[in-house]
Amino acid sequence: MSRCEDLIHLLSDYVGGELDRPLTQEVEKHLVTCARCRVIVHTLRQTVYLCRELEPVDMPEAVQKRLHITIRQKWQQRRISAQVPASKEVDMKRKEVPHMATKKYHPLAEMTRIEDAFDRYLNRFFSDFLPLRAPSLWPAEMAWTPVVDLVDKGDHLLFKADLPGLKKEAVKISLSENNVLTVAGEVTRSEEEKKGEYYRCERCFGAFSRSIQLPVDVIQDKVEASLKEGILEIKLPKREPKKTKELEIKLK
C-alpha cells in the first residue's frame, strides 16, 4: 500500500511519457504486481485521451462574421485616417470580398508619415467645407450595424431595431435552434442618390447583419415580426419553463 502512495504522484508524468528511465522502470516494476495501480494508470491514460478528444464548441457563423467585420473596420479606420489619395481608392462597394486590398507600407512610409499627419490636420480643418473626394470612401459603405433594443415584457421578449428606409423584402430574419436571433439585410443607394458631390455622407448604406443570443427559450413558430416606418419589431413569446415539482422533505 505504501508503495502505491509513493508512486501515485508520478503517474501523470508516467502516462505522458515524461519520466526519466529509472523512475519509469520503478513504476513499471510496481505495475506488474499491483492490479489496482494498473487500473489507475489505464483510466488515467483514458482521461488524458478524452481531454484530447474533447470536441471543440462550434463557433456560430454570425460570431465569425462579426469578428471579421470589426477587424476590417479597425483596419479601414486606420487607412482612412491616413488619407489615401483618391487615385488609390479601393472599391469598397464589394461587401463580401473576403480580402480587401490595402495600402502597402514601403520604406518611404516612415518619411511620409509626418507629411500625412500634417495632411490629416489640414483635412480635418477643411472637411466641413470641402466636398469629400468620393462618397464610396466612406466606411459606412462597407458594413454597419443597426441599433437594437431587447426588452423583457413578461410573457414575451420584444426586439426592436432601427432600419430606416428599408423595405420588408430587404430584411431577413432568422431564429436558430439555440435561440440566436439574426436580422440581416442591405440598404442600397439608388443611382439618383449616388449623383452629386457630397458635403456630408453620414447615413448608413450597405449590408448589415446583427445576431443576438436571446436570454430565454422562445416559441419558435409563434414569433411575429413587423416593419413600420423604419422600425422593426419582433415579438418573441417565451416558452414556459417546465415546472419542477417541489418536494418537501420532512424532518425525522
Binding site: E18, R52, H68, H99, K103, K104
Partner: protein, 209 residues
C-alpha cells in the same frame, strides 16, 4: 499535432505576422482564420457563456491587432495569442467573482480514489454510446475545475501544448504546471470513476440533513 507539423505552422505564422505588420489586411485575416476557433473554444470553456466567449474573441484579436507592432517574435505567435486570450477570459471570471476571498487556488482532491477497495476500470468503453457518455462526464468535470487547473488542462491536453508553452502562457513555472496537471488529471479520473461506481452515485443523490 506532431512536432514538425507544429514547426511548419509556426513558420507560416511568422510569415503572416511580418506581412500583417507591413500593413497587409489579408495576412492578418489569415491569422484570424487560423486561430479564431481555438480562441473561441478556450474562451467558451473558461467563461461557459457564448456572449462572453464572443467578447473575449473580439477583445483578443483587437488587442493582437493593436500590439502586433510590438510583438517581437521571441515566443511563437500562438503562445502569445493564447496568453492574451486566456488572460482576457480569466479577467472576466475574476470580475464576476466578487465574493472570492482566497488568493490561492482552492485545492482539488482526487477523492482518495486509489484508497478505495474496488476501482472500476472504465478505460475501454464498450461502444460509441458509452464513449459519448464519457465525453459528456469529462466535459462537465472540466467545467467544474477551479480556473487555474482548468486552464492547464485545456492548454496542455486540450490544445496539445507543451509544459513550457503552458508555463509561458500562464506566467508560471514548469514544475507548477506539472503539479497542477497531475492533480487535475487525477481529479478528472476520479470523477469518471465516481460515474462508474453505482454505490457512490446513490450516496451523492440522497438528501443530506
Amino acid at each position: 499535432m506532431t512536432a514538425s507539423k507544429r514547426e511548419r505552422r509556426a513558420e507560416k505564422d511568422r510569415e503572416l505576422v511580418e506581412k500583417a505588420k507591413a500593413g497587409e489586411l489579408r495576412a492578418f485575416e489569415e491569422l484570424v482564420n487560423r486561430y479564431e476557433r481555438k480562441v473561441y473554444n478556450i474562451a467558451y470553456r473558461i467563461t461557459k457563456n457564448r456572449e462572453e466567449a464572443e467578447e473575449v474573441l473580439q477583445e483578443t484579436f483587437l488587442s493582437v491587432y493593436k500590439s502586433l507592432k510590438r510583438f517581437k517574435g521571441k515566443s511563437a505567435f500562438s503562445t502569445w495569442l493564447y496568453r492574451i486570450a486566456v488572460n482576457a477570459a480569466l479577467m472576466r471570471m475574476r470580475k464576476k467573482r466578487v465574493e472570492t476571498v482566497s488568493l490561492d487556488e482552492p485545492l482539488i482532491s482526487d477523492n482518495g480514489d486509489h484508497l478505495r477497495r474496488e476501482i472500476p476500470d472504465w478505460s475501454t468503453p464498450e461502444d460509441e454510446i458509452e464513449k459519448k457518455r464519457l465525453m459528456q462526464v469529462i466535459s462537465e468535470a472540466i467545467d467544474s475545475l477551479p480556473d487555474g487547473y482548468k486552464t492547464v488542462v485545456l492548454l496542455r491536453d486540450g490544445e496539445g501544448l507543451s509544459n513550457s508553452e503552458v508555463a509561458h502562457i500562464l506566467k508560471t513555472s514548469v514544475p507548477s504546471v506539472k503539479a497542477k496537471l497531475h492533480r487535475a488529471r487525477m481529479h478528472l479520473r476520479s470523477r469518471l470513476s465516481d460515474y462508474f461506481t453505482p454505490s457512490r452515485k446513490r450516496k451523492e443523490r440522497s438528501v443530506q440533513m
